[in-house]
């Protein structure tokens, strides 16, 4: 095996020993800040000391705040040490299906930190932030053009928030007609946020079946499209990594039933620049700027989930609305006047400006041609992985090409004693982050691999070689290598059951 000679044992049998060494002279053990002392310390020099607060007598803390403070050297070291315990895109392929872990250009970080973007207040007079509004308008134009939709609500703060915005817009549109529909149809393969959002928006969720080839079952959809259905929520490309071939028919059936067609756009990366959802009959679709447009995931966020809207839904978009007039740009911030139909507000202020800057920087860098290439390379990379692994692992939907991600199931592991979880954890020892596991739920022991377009052929080969080697080991009965995995991570496998049984959610002395 030519992989990983650094970070690899020089002895071949390491994985036989459950207690095998791991870690290296550079990786530091690091306690919690609460264990580092500093209860009376601070790492910030403040301009002055003990200001009076006599006017607040009776309103102030009874006891001093017990939180440790560390000097800057200690703080920096603490967080640098901790950081090295993370995997990251910058370290290796991060093949989490449905997550679009692509490279995050550093230019975008630099642009987001320009004082003219980072150091402006959301409620400054709009005359003093015309550049910011111009940027929002430009971002809106790109999103509208790329999706072929006439309007966009920028303010949602993540994909799920965008879903909520979309469904609330749909609800507002129905309500404006006095139509009190109560149901949303969602395919069984949908991401958890889809049903969760529908429920949060006050809808009952009814699942739509899936065909043998991993798409929406049109006959089941047709059967369930009764007049109480407010919306059909479909992910396209879907969570099996497949394009919904009948998407235009889905839209037609949905509209015929008086419902709206919500598209989960989390997988837009596969089609950006090549397919416009507006051409497919979509009424609303959120776009995860932190996926397709590469704003960094940051260990869990922040993201941004603008929602493009059809003409029918646009009047109900939440405030703020961005307007352009003779005096330049302005906001309609309240549901009055021309924006009286607005459904309300998704959040304080105007959404994720920091993410807008990054996303626009990404768009301008790629241009229309580059974005098209993004989709092509993303799909090419996924199909390459699919092709290279097809001989070793079973696929629920082997026929035809996939889109941006390749889906495998655990049929091929039957009898090996190795589970999808074990297999994924063993991948950690090979230096890779595991693929998405057990999602979509419709596929048994699912392993969903999304390489994204920013992976080189060399890295894809490194990854495929590692997976194939592991697959061979699993089939060869080398179960210990999997059951105990990972052996080479900063920690061994963690006990999640204990964590949930008696939750310890904060440090106590």
């Amino acid at each position: 095996m030519s992989l990983q000679t650094i970070g690899r044992p020089t002895r071949a049998d390491f994985h036989d020993a459950a207690e095998a060494p791991h870690g290296h002279g550079l990786l530091q053990d690091e306690p919690l800040i609460f264990e580092l002392g500093g209860w009376d310390k601070t790492g910030v020099d403040l301009p002055d000391g003990d200001e009076p607060a006599d006017d607040l007598a009776g309103f102030t803390r009874a006891e001093p705040l017990r939180l440790p403070g560390l000097s800057e050297p200690e703080t920096v070291r603490h967080y640098v040490r901790l950081s090295q315990k993370n995997h990251a895109i910058d370290l290796a392929l991060y093949p989490l299906g449905s997550c679009t872990m692509k490279h995050n250009p550093r230019l975008n970080e630099k642009m987001a930190r320009l004082a003219g973007f980072a150091d402006i207040h959301p409620l400054q007079p709009v005359s003093t932030v015309q550049g910011a509004l111009t940027l929002m308008a430009e971002l809106a134009r790109w999103l509208e053009t790329l999706t072929g939709m006439p309007a966009v609500a920028l303010s949602p703060k993540a994909g799920a928030h965008g879903e909520l915005c979309g469904l609330l817009t749909i609800r507002a549109a129905h309500e404006a007609r006095g139509d009190g529909r109560k149901t949303v149809l969602v395919p069984t393969s949908a991401h958890g946020t889809n049903p969760a959002t529908a429920a949060l928006a006050g809808y009952g969720v009814v699942e739509i079946a899936q065909t043998a080839d991993g798409r929406v079952d049109l006959s089941d959809l047709a059967a369930k499209l009764h007049p109480d259905v407010a919306a059909v929520m479909v992910t396209n490309p879907n969570t099996c990594g497949l394009f919904e071939r009948e998407v235009i028919e889905i839209a037609r059936l949905t509209h015929a039933a008086g419902a709206y067609f919500y598209c989960d756009g989390a997988n837009f990366n596969a089609i950006v620049g090549r397919v416009r959802p507006g051409d497919l009959g979509v009424d609303a679709m959120h776009i995860n700027l932190h996926k397709t447009f590469s704003t960094p995931h940051g260990g869990g966020g922040p993201g941004a989930g603008p929602v493009v809207l059809s003409a029918a839904l646009a009047p109900y978009a939440p405030t703020p609305w961005l307007r352009h007039g003779p005096d330049g740009f302005s906001f309609a911030e309240h549901a009055t006047g021309e924006s009286a139909t607005a459904l309300g507000r998704m959040c304080a202020f105007h959404g994720q400006m920091g993410m807008y800057v990054r996303a626009l920087s990404y768009m301008l860098s790629h241009g229309a041609d580059g974005l098209r290439q993004v989709a092509e390379d993303a799909v090419l990379n996924a199909n390459y992985v699919k092709a290279r692994l097809a001989g070793a692992m079973s696929q629920p939907f082997p026929e035809g090409p996939c889109m941006h991600e390749a889906l495998f199931d655990d049929e091929w592991l039957e009898g090996t004693g190795v589970t999808t979880l074990d297999f994924a954890k063993a991948l950690i020892d090979q230096g890779f982050h595991p693929m998405t596991m057990y999602f979509p739920l419709v596929v048994h022991g699912a392993m969903l691999i999304e390489p994204t377009e920013t992976e080189s052929r060399r890295e894809l080969d490194r990854f495929c070689d590692a997976v194939l080697e592991l697959a061979a080991a699993a089939k060869a009965g080398d179960v210990e290598r999997f059951k105990g995995a990972p052996f080479h991570a900063p920690l061994r496998r963690l006990d999640e059951t204990q964590a949930a049984r008696k939750p310890r959610l904060r440090w106590t002395a």
């Binding site: 790492g43 910030v44 803390r61 705040l65 993370n86 995050n104 230019l107 320009l114 003219g116 973007f117 980072a118 402006i120 207040h121 959301p122 409620l123 400054q124 003093t128 015309q130 550049g131 910011a132 940027l135 053009t145 928030h161 609330l168 946020t193 049903p195 969760a196 429920a199 949060l200 394009f243 235009i248 932190h290 995931h297 940051g298 869990g300 309300g344 959040c347 304080a348 105007h350 959404g351 920091g354 860098s365 041609d369 098209r372 290439q373 390379d377 090419l380 199909n383 390459y384 982050h433 920013t454 080189s456 052929r457 920690l491 963690l494 006990d495 999640e496 949930a500 939750p503 904060r506």
Partner: protein, 447 residues
């Protein structure tokens, strides 16, 4: 294209391995009618230099807060963030990692989340905090939804001191759940009205301190009344620095505390991304929205951290989840945690006092301007003042003169008929010279 590693040769080779004639073959499932050749309305790719120039021009068309005297607050406060914070959150391992679903290779993120939760719990005076929400306003809306789940009641009472954006965000979300959002009229201090509005159908009462007018309140009495009525008390804070000085929500009897955490560790960013803090009583933990990080051990018995209690969450519970939130504000939470680790309890307390002192200086100077009346009875770092005429045009004039003179209340709630009310905030970044400049400009404009 600099972000795309594949060469033409790579592509040809890979298509060969796949057994596809060309790239079009991989898009075979897309209906022909929906395939676009090009998007002519958008420009082609551009180099860094060109992109940088375009964006810098846009940035240059904004007036940065740091460019002169600055007094805007109203839910977003300008604080100094140590350079090390921004440096650390830009480390690849934090910036470019995903939600820590694989704890063995995500202890960096997980341990910082555990630290974050512990810090938020200490600040709010409540035992449990989650791993962050989008921002303070959505945290507030989620808290109301949670109160509804806990109490099974459909009436939420919001004090007139709650930030109007928070009220509107809450109303928007609550509406679809059939929750009736009672927003009391905007008022500098409305304890009596809140007490009067609590009834047996009330799921929760939402109060803010310091409130949108800057008023600092002790909400103990309200919390007691709510408790007596079987309702939850939700305490909102939009200025997290205040936790360094004021009674914590927990001390005052809050069941849930939500706050905007951006003041600590984060930049103004024109309103986002920010970071919502969410804490509650222990008994309510299984009704909480959002992620929770918990302590456990690894196979070798060493301490480690994992995401836990995920049976509350959308990816497990789907339409029965406590919230639909997935991506949250991880990196902003990290910035918060690092800044808090630098400050410590001592530092935050000192910072809070300085903020308060600056606001006192501000109140003194502005209060001395003829025609200006200070409305806020007790304040932390923000005051509401009444001008002799509508505030918005005054703010425009001062902006032309290079002073960003706060937020007219009408911007937040035009229907409140408080057009002459202006909100003015001061922080450690506000100098006496800034304050003097404001007073002079106000005198001139109003005189």
């Amino acid at each position: 294209m600099r972000y795309l590693p594949l060469t033409a040769e790579d592509r040809a080779h890979m298509l060969g391995v796949i057994g596809a004639s060309d790239i079009e073959a991989l898009f075979a499932d897309v209906p022909a009618a929906a395939r676009r050749e090009a998007l002519p309305d958008l420009p082609a790719h551009a180099g860094e230099l060109a992109v940088e120039r375009t964006l810098a021009a846009m940035a240059g068309a904004n007036r940065a807060a740091g460019a002169g005297p600055f007094f805007c607050g109203a839910g977003a406060y300008r604080h100094h963030v140590p350079a090390s914070v921004d440096h650390l959150i830009q480390r690849s391992e934090f910036l470019t990692s995903y939600t820590p679903y694989q704890p063995e290779i995500a202890q960096g993120t997980l341990q910082t989340l555990f630290e974050f939760q512990t810090q938020v719990a200490a600040l709010t005076g409540l035992p449990v905090a989650n791993a962050s929400m989008y921002d303070g306003s959505t945290a507030c809306a989620e808290a109301v939804m949670m109160a509804h789940r806990v109490t099974r009641r459909r009436r939420a009472v919001l004090s007139g001191g709650v930030h109007p954006h928070y009220g509107e965000t809450t109303r928007t979300l609550a509406h679809s759940a059939g929750i009736d959002t009672i927003r009391l009229p905007a008022a500098v201090d409305d304890e009596a009205a809140v007490l009067a509005a609590i009834d047996a159908d009330t799921a929760c009462v939402v109060v803010q301190t310091p409130n949108v007018f800057g008023t600092v309140s002790d909400v103990t009495k309200i919390a007691q009344a709510a408790k007596a009525a079987g309702a939850l008390t939700i305490v909102v804070t939009t200025e997290a620095v205040a936790f360094g000085l004021l009674k914590s929500p927990g001390e005052m009897g809050a069941d849930i505390a939500v706050a905007e955490g951006a003041s600590i560790g984060n930049a103004l960013n024109f309103g986002g991304p920010y970071v919502g803090l969410f804490a509650c009583r222990e008994a309510l933990v299984r009704q909480m929205p959002g992620r929770l990080c918990g302590e456990t051990v690894d196979a070798a018995g060493r301490r480690g951290f994992v995401l836990t209690l995920s049976t509350r969450e959308q990816h497990i519970r789907r339409d029965k989840a406590t919230s639909n939130i997935c991506t949250n504000s991880g990196l902003c939470a990290l910035a918060f945690t690092i800044h808090m680790s630098l400050l410590g309890g001592t530092g935050l307390a000192a910072l809070a006092r300085i903020n308060h002192a600056r606001a006192r200086a501000l109140a003194e100077a502005v209060g001395a301007v003829a025609g200006v009346e200070i409305l806020t009875p007790r304040f932390f770092n923000e005051i509401a003042v009444r001008l002799p005429r509508p505030a918005a045009p005054v703010v425009e004039v001062l902006a032309d003169g290079g002073i960003l003179a706060g937020v007219p209340f009408s911007r937040l709630d035009p229907a409140a008929a408080l057009d002459d009310v202006l909100l003015l905030a001061a922080t450690e970044t506000t100098s006496q010279a800034d304050i003097d400049a404001l007073a002079v400009a106000l005198s001139k404009e109003l005189g």
